[in-house]
């Protein structure tokens, strides 16, 4: 009777191929939301907000209008690159959650691949847009179209441990004005035992954290953003200056080269900073609200508010930053998009708008979890209680830069990470810069896409 079994198996297979059933047998529409957030782990507040606020309220609201809808949350708690891969595979297969949270920088390549679609006229008429500034809107933009709704933005600063600064005889209200000021503080901190003076993310194991918290703000501080609107930045004095700073830090005993290579290096750097074993740490405001938060952080610091200082990232020398700026920063942010393969596009669209309403964002950032949202009307209310985030919103965001929303960016970013890795393991900056330039020419498709030299 084995052929019966075989035939059944084949039958099941064929049924499996056709079935992307939406489970609407009982008349209930099912929607799924995904984000790189998970209860008890990464971005725990976001996960809690989706599960405890968004889902029940949306279901209630729809039920009141006679629509039976059941929303579920698909959590993740992994590195951004892994989350991106998973999401891209989902979308490529025409499957995946109905509402997907993406890093704004992925919008371009996902749009080019046809995985996500531009918003339609009705979605563009949403009343929330007037509260989202143009620069922030562009997080969801690609080639003149909007593909989703940005929900938050961020900024990068230099964090420093006030206790260690006091021990090393440094001022506890520190604001460096040049890279030399940073190195000088690092040298003073090097006198302390068991302390990493400066943690400047480098190497490939840190992934995008190397580019976003290290190379890009430094490049802006050296006077040249990575992309000038038409061409990519090649080897030259700016890149050599940036790589030179890595050489000074990691060749001069001011940083821990091994930490940049460890698979869990970034998490360890957080842990050590929280333990008071790192002097200066370049990071985004995520560190403050997601990592060091005394109640819900992944490396909580009970005395965060008094022990941790923050300063703007200075240009190489005053006025040397891009556009003649004295201080610089980099910003990104996440965007929620609709899955074009969803079974209930209209309901999903309503859910997306609901998740970005002033009321919802206010609930998301209520109490302990203040964060910089995309909406100015919400920021005015929720940031008032958090000096650090107000500092970012008021002083850092006006002087910040964004990454170019181009499909080549992830590869360029990887090349920059590799350049820092080489410098950290002893290659001289000029050689590393030349290697970068050679690889860059291949990635961006020819020398005509590279600025100068």
């Amino acid at each position: 009777m084995s052929w019966v079994g075989g035939a059944v198996a084949v039958g099941l297979l064929l049924a499996g191929c056709g079935g992307a059933g939406d489970g609407t047998g009982d008349g209930t529409a099912r929607l799924t939301i995904s984000a790189n957030a998970v209860a008890g782990g990464k971005n725990a507040e976001e996960a809690a907000w989706i599960e405890e606020w968004v889902i029940p309220r949306f279901e209630q609201e729809q039920a009141a209008r006679g629509v039976e809808v059941s929303v579920s949350f698909e959590p993740s708690g992994v590195d951004d690159e892994q989350y991106k891969t998973k999401t891209a595979l989902d979308l490529q297969a025409g499957a995946g959650p109905d509402i997907i949270t993406l890093d704004g920088i992925w919008v371009g390549e996902f749009a080019q691949a046809g995985y996500i679609e531009p918003l339609d006229a009705a979605q563009l008429a949403w009343d929330g847009w007037e509260h989202i500034p143009e620069a922030v809107r562009q997080l969801a933009g690609f080639e003149g179209e909007l593909y989703g709704i940005p929900w938050g933005t961020d900024g990068r600063v230099l964090y420093y441990h006030k206790g260690l600064f006091a021990e090393a005889g440094l001022p506890t209200d520190w604001q460096p004005r040049s890279w030399e000021d940073i190195l000088a503080a690092g040298r003073a901190l090097a006198a302390l035992d068991e302390v990493i003076p400066i943690q400047l993310n480098g190497g490939t194991a840190m992934g995008e954290a190397t580019t976003m918290q290290g190379v890009l703000p430094l490049l802006a501080g050296a006077g040249a953003p990575i992309h000038d609107g038409t061409r990519w930045l090649g080897a030259g004095p700016e890149l050599e200056a940036v790589l030179g700073l890595y050489a000074d830090v990691y060749g001069g005993g001011l940083g821990d080269p091994l930490l940049q290579q460890e698979a869990q290096g970034r998490d360890k750097s957080f842990q050590r900073f929280a333990e008071g074993r790192v002097g200066i740490l370049a990071e985004g405001d995520y560190l403050w609200r997601g990592v060091l938060d005394p109640d819900s952080g992944t490396a909580p610091m009970a005395d965060r508010d008094t022990a941790v200082g923050y300063a703007k990232i200075p240009a190489l020398t005053p006025g040397a930053g891009a556009g003649g700026q004295n201080f610089v920063s980099m910003s990104g942010g996440s965007v929620r998009v609709l899955n074009p393969a969803g079974d209930h596009p209209e309901l999903a669209s309503e859910l997306l708008a609901f998740m970005n309403s002033a009321e919802a964002l206010q609930a998301a950032t209520d109490g302990q979890d203040a964060r910089i949202t995309a909406r100015t009307d919400v920021n005015e209310i929720v940031l008032a209680g958090d000096p650090m985030l107000s500092f970012v919103a008021d002083e850092v965001l006006p002087l910040t830069f964004y990454r170019p929303p181009l499909a080549e960016y992830p590869q360029v970013s990887l090349l920059l990470q590799e350049a820092t890795a080489r410098v950290i393991s002893g290659t001289d900056p000029a050689t590393a810069a030349r290697t970068y330039q050679d690889a860059l020419t291949e990635v961006v498709g020819g020398a005509e896409h590279i600025a100068g030299r």
């Binding site: 084995s2 052929w3 079994g5 075989g6 035939a7 198996a9 084949v10 297979l13 690159e81 891969t85 891209a88 595979l89 490529q92 992925w106 390549e109 996902f110 080019q112 691949a113 046809g114 995985y115 190497g203 490939t204 194991a205 091994l258 290579q261 460890e262 698979a263 360890k268 499909a407 992830p410 590869q411 990887l414 890795a421 393991s425």
Partner: protein, 300 residues
């Protein structure tokens, strides 16, 4: 067409009914083996990507991917690392250690034997993710067990000796199979022959070389064939080192994963997997030839 002659059709089914019986199995093979293999070959000659323009509209690039792989240091480095990993952890490590354990335990019974076998087997049957977590805890720089045992605080084993670390890890992980296979093989060696050799004054080494090895040569080759192929395709070291530091543990499966999924270059990744398949075939061919020459020997 009646074809029920006893010589050609033992079951007496007839061609049509025989074909019907095999059809489900053949369909499964086509669906799950043949089609994916051909599809991989096709992807290997395109510039298909996970995201971006080439995801929506891939174009054929001929043999560029293969040419790029063979010219790229990263590929040749990875191949060399894989060879080191296979020879170090499988051919030398697992096979020798497995044999040693089997040899030492061959005449023992009781608690000791059961304990050793249980421990070695445990390393084999635990899930990879669990094992990887244990080894990270063992080798960790800050609070690692190994550093505490050796009194070497601050030694980052996975960073300073990455290849040695994953080789030792894989020996520990996979020795059970060799041990069990050799234990069974040693049971086939007639005790009388060993006894005779011993009475004739043969040393342990001479007994192994002249009595045991000729008897179990087939088992040795089969074992080496299997563990070489498994190790060649093993992805578990990725859980320990992520292919780092500086790609120094980027063996072929890791390179493939990082290229195709992390880097999104699905076309190039497919080309790499074809090359990996070829490498597997070469390994298999070498062993099969050795096995065949062995079976011919007694006849000649």
């Amino acid at each position: 067409m009646p074809s029920t002659s006893p010589g050609g059709d033992a079951a007496g089914l007839g061609r049509l009914r025989a074909a019907l019986f095999t059809a489900p199995a053949l369909l499964l093979i086509v669906a799950f083996l043949l089609f994916p293999a051909l599809w991989t070959l096709y992807l290997g000659v395109t510039d298909y990507r996970l995201t971006g323009l080439a995801a929506a509209d891939p174009s054929t690039v001929g043999l560029d991917n293969f040419e790029r792989a063979l010219n790229e240091d990263r590929f040749t480095d990875s191949l060399w690392l894989t060879v080191q990993f296979v020879i170090g952890s499988a051919v030398l490590g697992q096979a020798l250690l497995g044999f040693t354990i089997a040899w030492l335990l061959r005449e023992r019974t009781g608690v000791l034997r059961r304990l050793v076998e249980a421990l070695v087997l445990l390393a084999w049957i635990l899930p990879s993710s669990v094992v990887a977590f244990l080894w990270i805890a063992l080798l960790d720089r800050d609070d690692g067990t190994l550093n505490a045992l050796l009194g070497t605080p601050g030694t980052a084993w996975l960073l300073e000796h990455p290849m040695a670390s994953i080789i030792v890890f894989n020996i520990w992980r996979g020795t059970a199979f060799s041990m069990m296979l050799y234990a069974a093989a040693l049971g086939n060696v007639p005790p009388s022959q060993l006894e005779t050799a011993r009475l004739a004054g043969a040393s342990t080494w001479q007994q192994l070389r002249d009595v045991v090895l000729p008897r179990i040569k087939g088992h040795v080759l089969t074992n080496l064939l299997l563990i070489s192929l498994w190790t060649f395709n093993d992805f578990t070291p990725f859980l320990l080192t992520g292919g780092g530091p500086d790609n120094r543990t980027e063996i072929m499966p890791v390179l493939l994963y990082r290229t195709a999924l992390h880097g999104g270059e699905l076309g190039y990744g497919a080309a790499l997997s074809v090359l990996m398949l070829l490498a597997n075939l070469v390994i298999a061919l070498v062993y099969v030839r050795l096995l065949r020459s062995r079976t011919k020997e007694p006849a000649a």
